[in-house]
Amino acid sequence: MSSITYLEAIRLAQEKALADDPRVFLYGQDVGNFGGAFKATKNLAKEFPGRVFDAPLSEDAIIGMAVGAAIEGMRPIVEMQFADFSTCGFNQIVNHAATLYYRTGVPCPIVVRLPSGGTSGGGPFHSQSMEALYAHYPGLVVMTPATVEDAYSMLLEAVALDDPVIFCEHKFLYYHLKSERLPESVLPVGKARLARAGRDATIVTHGAMLHESIAAATELAGDGYEIEIVDLRTVKPLDMDTVLASVARTGRLLCVSEEWPWGGVAAEVIARVTSEGFGLLDVAPQRLNAKDTPVPYHPDLWSVHRPTASAIAEVSRRLLNI
């Protein structure tokens, strides 16, 4: 098997879900014959006739229809063309899908795929990281796969879950991230992963920021510092056991997140670590998010708007008191 991209892993996971479970279907703009704006559903309409189809330009209806289909026992996977457009289907996600189980006892097994995060030139409306927004609402599972393996296995798990899943797949990783094979064994849903072992500080991160963090850690390794990195994988629920265990080892915490700072993943992780593991911290925990402005479209602005390996390395140095 030749190497598989993150994007192809998502396509393969959907293909497997369709093949394995007759309750699965795909709905979204251009996901049918065209195979999706990013080709995440390429060939699937042909392979699974009547189960992969184009929706009108109606995010609210797309999610609403998925909710209804889920009540009837189906397992819809819906694609938003970009995460940013999910604001138009926001009400159905947070007020219908997310509340259904609590209110009625009937679960709502939908998967909403959000092509997320920044890419060069994407601009304010094709770059957003919306994981914190959805994680704020009770009832939603929010996944943020950072590797090809996780993109594949977590999407399959998302489909298997009875609860609604917001699946934040990162566009920056679509083409560049590659793997030789699909995973055989996987971590359970809600478990974070130790992406890199270290002893001097812990970086807690997710999504595309995992790779920036790894690059920063590599840079710092050159100076003799060993940074441990926790990839959250799902930001809700949060695997505090893994995070706290790492902080217990290192005593230092940096949270790196691409979404905006106020109330973001980094804020939540720091709040949790400090209230649950205050004594583990030797110094003030730090965070690094995107800047608190819309995501600029110009590549030169964008590349400093989001956290980069060099910015992460710089904050890490401060954290390490170098």
């Binding site: 279907f25 009547g50 189960r51 929706a55 009108p56 109606s58 995010e59 609210d60 209806a61 797309i62 999610i63 609403g64 229809m65 998925a66 909710v67 209804g68 289909a69 889920a70 009540i71 009837e72 026992g73 189906m74 819809p76 009400n91 159905q92 007020n95 219908h96 997310a98 509340t99 259904l100 189980y101 609590y102 209110r103 009625t104 006892g105 009937v106 679960p107 009770p138 009832g139 599972v141 879950l161 009875d162 609860d163 809600g190 809700k236 629920p237 949060l238 505090m240 949790r272 209230s275 649950e276």
Partner: protein, 338 residues
């Protein structure tokens, strides 16, 4: 357009059946209003007085296995579809034994597993949900199914209405969307809500069938819904039914509806569909005044007995609730303090 010659009348038994459900809904809602004034109700009370004829006609034409997503003013339609006095009172009186276990209440109640959907408050939102349910049924190979949902004149202004009806039309789903134009959305009159001559004029813009009915007239409602539901069931795609009527109560029981134009109250649209139906029964000699009184009495007895029973039921116990928004208990988060 097909003509339904054989369908053009309503039998006395069908009419009486509908009337009695309307009457039961009316009696039950009068009780709810009285319990509200007595401070016995948990949450708000939004009643369907004056809208029973249209609502009941929706519920009566649905079968077991169909889908119904009622809205605010559908007590009659709910009961016609199978909801009970007991479930109704359990939600309003806050019994733990109600279908929503105290977590949500009143007009939001439902039993989704039985095709009886539990509305969220955001108007229009049930339209795509029912559409998606119908799509699911189609994918499962079920045929002859109908999904119905109701809406007010105000609800037609929502993006959800538009997106939902359009998507249903594209898929040619068996959706029956019933708009009760009761002339107001809370205090807002039609003139501030839309500018088309008639809401049914929207049908052509979606490529769906449109039906118009005087919703104070039970017979017309029954005939119109019979036709619309049949058309949907037989593959005719979405049906938009618009009924004209007047809300004969406040928006909620806290509202005195002083803003309602007196001219509307005295116009034909302001007539009480229940009274009109009763007059027809009498005029047609399908029953005597004594019989209709007995029916009302019977309904009152049943409602009162159920109130007595439900009042003795326990409310939800916070310490027994699992406080889980997820079906998987591993997903419970433990927030410090909480």
């Amino acid at each position: 357009m097909p003509t339904f010659k054989e369908d053009a009348t309503v039998s006395s038994s069908e009419f009486i059946k509908a009337y009695r459900v309307m009457l039961l809904a009316r009696v039950l809602e009068e009780k709810l209003a009285s319990l509200y004034r007595g401070g016995m109700i948990k949450g708000g009370v939004f009643l369907g007085r004056g809208q029973e004829a249209l609502s009941v006609s929706v519920g009566l034409h649905l079968h077991k296995g169909d889908i119904f997503a009622p809205l605010i003013r559908d007590q009659a339609g709910r009961m016609a579809f199978g909801d009970t006095i007991l479930d109704t009172l359990r939600t309003y009186l806050g019994s733990q034994l109600g279908p929503m276990r105290g977590r949500d209440g009143n007009i939001h109640r439902g039993r989704p597993r039985e095709g009886y959907y539990a509305m969220i408050s955001h108007l229009g939102a049930m339209i795509p949900a029912v559409s998606g349910a119908l799509l699911a049924r189609r994918m499962k190979g079920e045929t002859g199914i109908v999904g119905a949902t109701c809406l007010g004149d105000g609800g037609t202004s929502t993006g959800a209405f538009h997106e939902g009806l359009n998507a249903a039309a594209v898929e040619k789903l068996p959706l029956v969307l019933v708009v009760a134009n009761n002339q107001y959305a809370y205090s807002t009159p039609n003139s501030r809500q839309f500018a088309c001559l008639d809401l049914v004029d929207k049908a052509v813009g979606y490529g769906v069938a449109g039906h118009k009915v005087d919703a104070t007239d039970l017979e017309q409602c029954l005939l119109t819904l019979r036709k619309a539901v049949k058309a949907a069931r037989e593959g005719g795609g979405p049906q938009l039914v618009v009924g004209d009527l007047l809300r004969l109560v406040g928006h909620g029981e806290h509202d005195d509806a002083h803003y309602v134009d007196p001219a509307l109250k005295s116009a034909p649209v302001g007539r009480d569909c229940l009274l009109l139906a009763e007059e027809k029964i009498i005029a047609k000699k399908w029953a005597s005044r004594a019989e209709t009184s007995a029916w009302r009495h019977e309904a009152e007895e049943e409602v009162n007995a159920t109130v007595d029973k439900v009042r003795r039921e326990p409310g939800p116990k916070p310490e027994e609730d699992d406080w889980m928004a997820y079906s998987k208990s591993e997903f419970a988060e433990h927030y410090a303090g909480a």
